[in-house]
Symmetry: C2
Subunit: 174 residues, 2 copies
């Protein structure tokens, strides 16, 4: 698929409801278990998604609009949520994510992203030249990647409980 803003918004606007449907009200075992040392639980992933809203996607889009490729993006701290949201309940994080995502979508709309603006270039600190369109497509894929990660982390809690069916369930060996 070629990038189209309307298509991207379809996914970006759905992610908070998807993540809430998966996680709101689940037991601590589902929310807080991870895939082993150095891996993330669904709870951690929601914190990471919030931090992206607050420091990554819209701030980078603004840098492109205001500075083009003359000012590289700030590097994104992928682990900030461990300190930033320490002690917050999962329910609180889900609410904050939905709120922050709505603010991001409002900010996007205010940017009035014409085809010209979508083609504008920015500078990623590691990847180099990127475009506004690529940034927004990445935001969509990043959402979907973490939805898939939440599903995988939860599935792996039952890796032994499924017994011989393990052979048929490829999510358990990802």
């Amino acid at each position: 698929m070629e990038f189209q803003l309307e298509h991207a918004l379809e996914i970006l606007s759905r992610t908070p409801a998807t993540v809430s449907a998966m996680l709101r009200g689940v037991s601590g075992e589902w929310a807080r278990n991870n895939e082993g040392p150095e891996s993330w639980s669904p709870y951690d992933i929601v914190g990471h998604l919030i931090h992206g809203e607050e420091t990554d996607w819209i701030p980078r889009a603004k840098i492109i609009l205001e500075h083009g490729d003359s000012k590289p993006f700030e590097p994104f701290d992928r682990f900030a949520m461990f300190e930033k949201f320490k002690g917050a309940s999962l329910e609180k994080l889900l609410g904050r994510f939905a709120q922050r995502r709505q603010q991001s979508l409002d900010a996007l709309q205010q940017m009035n992203l014409t085809p010209d603006k979508l083609a504008r270039k920015g500078t990623h600190p590691e990847l180099g030249a990127v475009t506004m369109k690529q940034l927004l497509a990445t935001w969509v894929v990043h959402d979907l990647g973490h939805i898939r990660q939440i599903a995988r982390v939860m599935a792996k809690q039952y890796a032994e409980a499924v017994g011989p069916w393990k052979a048929y369930l490829s999510i358990l060996s990802e």
Copy 2:
């Protein structure tokens, strides 16, 4: 995690809302594109989930309760949805899945699955000896596996649109 019926029900009862949050109202491009030849679109996956409700999970649980391991399960047709739901809208399939899942959960409750019943053995046509608990854990992991598949299929539609960010997005190379 050890299998617990309450934990399994938390996931099984959430899946229709999760799948609806991801897919209800999305463009045909998101719903109907797949990962290439012989692969499934999100639309196909919803059909597969319905067919599981109608012919697989509860019918197998009933065979275990009624016949133990003396009667092997019917093999499950993983491709039945291509003919069975031909021409149905995505919205219709999402509604049918939610309805069928609720019927499955009602049937489960009527089975009054005590620890003794959860430990009962059945016979899988290929895998051999399995238990009721393993069947129900597999149902949970199967749900999560298809949620992750829907996310992956949609993400891959933007494999090129993300440009150089592709290197960071592991979901695109799964």
